[in-house]
């Protein structure tokens, strides 16, 4: 579990460092992972779709 956590934390850090990548998507992915739910293709798509909509609104 320790390594899983390390991998995810590093993954989120790298995405956050990418200025072009929307923070809202990273936050949502992080929140979803921390909730312990299964990360599925559909869920990630939903997060991306919502993130893109938010960016467009901004």
């Amino acid at each position: 579990m320790e390594i899983q956590r390390e991998i995810f934390e590093e993954f989120f850090r790298k995405l956050q460092e990418d200025e072009k990548f929307p923070d809202s998507i990273v936050e949502e992915l992080k929140r979803f992972w921390e909730s312990g739910e299964i990360i599925s293709q559909e869920k990630v798509f939903e997060i991306i779709k919502k993130g893109c909509a938010d960016v467009n609104k901004d």
Partner: protein, 797 residues
Amino acid sequence: MSIKIKKINIHAFRGILDLELELEGKSLLLRGENGTGKSSIVEAIEFFFTGKVSHLEGVQGLSLRRHAPHVNFAPDDINVSITFDPGNIFLTRTFTSAPSSSAPLEDYFKITQKGTFILRRSQILEFIRSQPAERFRAIGSIVGIQSLDNVELEMMRLRDELEGKVASKEKEINRLISDLSNLIGKEITEIKDVLPALNETLQKANLPLIMSLEEVDKHAQEMMRAVRKAESIERIAVLNEILKITNIPLISQEIVTELDDINEKVKYLLQDRARVELSIAGLLETGRKFIEEEKMNVCPLCEQEINRERLLIRIDDRLRILQALSDKASEIRKISVGVIDNLKGISNKLSSAISKIELFDELSKEKEMLLDKFRILNVFIDKVTSAKDFKNEIPIQEFIQQKEETNNIRLSISTKCNSLLSTIGLSEDEKKVLEVIRLIEQARSKVKDISNVSSELKAYKKRYELAEKIYSTFSETKKAKIQEVYNTIQEDMQNFYSMLHPNEPHKNIELVVALGRRASTEMRIESFGRKGEDPRALTSEGHLDSLGLCVFLAFVKKFNEGCPLIVLDDVVTTIDAGHRENICKLLFEKFGEKQLIITTHDGIWYEQLRASQRAYGVEGNFKNFVIIGWNVDTGPIVRPYKARWERIQEKTAAGDKSGAGNEARQYLEWILETICEALQIPVPFKSSGRYEVRELLMPAKKRVDSLIKENTFKAEISKTFQNLDSTMIMGNLLSHNNILVENVSIEEVKGFCDSVRKLHNIFLCPECGHFVSYYRDLKIIRCSNPKCKKPLEVKTD
């Protein structure tokens, strides 16, 4: 003080009816012949901690519910309990309830629940001999990262899906632009070319020009008013809209070609041959290696003559096909996205046409027919979607027939619409105006479609970029972190392996995350000066098995820190006696603090482990048990181990001449085998590996005579051999229930047994009781216990 297992109780599980193993926190060494329930005990421990039995999982026809209970019991009868110390904590697993671990056992259970404290030979195969992906999975379960593999797979699928969407939208835009060019009769490359081209047409028809495409609707209505009276305008507009939909084929040949292409790929993957090839990849690779390296011209399986070169080429072809299979699956997923979108677009067109033609009684027959085609098309879309997941083929012929029929209905509708327009009574000029109106409306509609699809494309491109970024970042992070983990255990792996194979030219053992593959681990070794080789290329079966053991122990050392339990289930079958000694050393020196459970069917390995317990002074830490029998009603009959000499003494005391004689003869066989191994005495090869006394005695005598220089030791051995010669007849008479046994006295039997015992003692170090070994380089026979303070040492030639 670490938590240890005090007692194990098993009821109605696998081959066990009722069994209690009192370990008292000690390690367990258990010997039993094949089929006596050793593995049932290991499986019961696995079941207790994990609720699973790994070899019953994922195999068709096997299930925990049906095959975990003893044959005379039901799942609810199963009960496996373990008592832990300190604290005398008693926990139970049944088929429906799991043990609830309390605070002191939290770490212990966290690790054991993963099941990664057990090593079986099948796992060694996974570590060493399997494909990189299987190796990754095997290691992933120890490291605790197996679920990440699924996360990565989901991310990759999303990326593929979105990539397919982008390609599909780009294709749709190209198709719409091509339709637009055909409609206007002029090459259109950009949207801005459309307005001038339409105005050119309007000008030719002497109609007012339009300033923008947004004005088209208003413009068309005004022109329509000029054509007819108000009551006809709506009817003409709807007929125009229907004609707009039906003036080109509803289902194009292009989509049939695309479906056919996908179907060919799907069909290939659905073939039994493709499935079989996937499952026999490992066999093909092993077979290829064998045939190539052994230069064999005869099939090792059927013993028929083979054309080696041709066979190797065919195997290579099949391996290439196999590699291409996963690429094909990914390609199918991507291209299907666009085709399914197109089919849905056709379905929408049909739906739109139906809603419009129902306003005309004259088209009621066509409406019913089109409705039927609409339903059939939607069923077909479901079939294409399931074909994308390789559940079925695409019924292409059926679709082609539907395409023809749908397009015929389309023609019929188009003809009737034109006829209806004629009945409204339009003049030739009005007809021309109508045609122009229809043209600009259709052009406007296409432009609108292009604009919509372009927006969708933009959105999908953005989503694809984000999905790709998520996938590649996750994948790279995962690979880098796993490689870091591998790097941290590399040193232990190498050290352990060097302990097992000292002075051998194998070094720099590496586990490497394979780049460019999603979940894959390669194993490399530097061997005989060749760097980065696959260990399978350069080492023996025994070396590979010991390497697997080292990989397991290195991971256990790093990741199972909070749990002292290690189970080794019959794992050294291919490793020779000398290297097994080194395994004892590795286990007792590096894992002495752990609670080991070691099972074996191999008497020699069992004796080596017992001797090593003495040599390392850990006898008190072990419970040595033997399974003396098994049947379905009793399960394994487990007894504390007794040395063979103790058993012989019991039998002679009881007057059991035949029993004592047989034990002594087997004892002698074992001693002679051990002497031959220890002194490196060449004996003729026997494929069974079973030798009789006469086959070993002479070579042993000759070797001792030629090898040993020191006279006292040599004389003592010679005298022992002479004693043995004089009593050997007893051994022969007493074997196999010989009827002459009655003619032999118990004193004579004791004499034979004593000679055997004497022979054993002479090769044991008087200081520590360890067997001697021959060290060729040093030209000595010496106690093999490296920790012996006063080792026996005899010079040799």
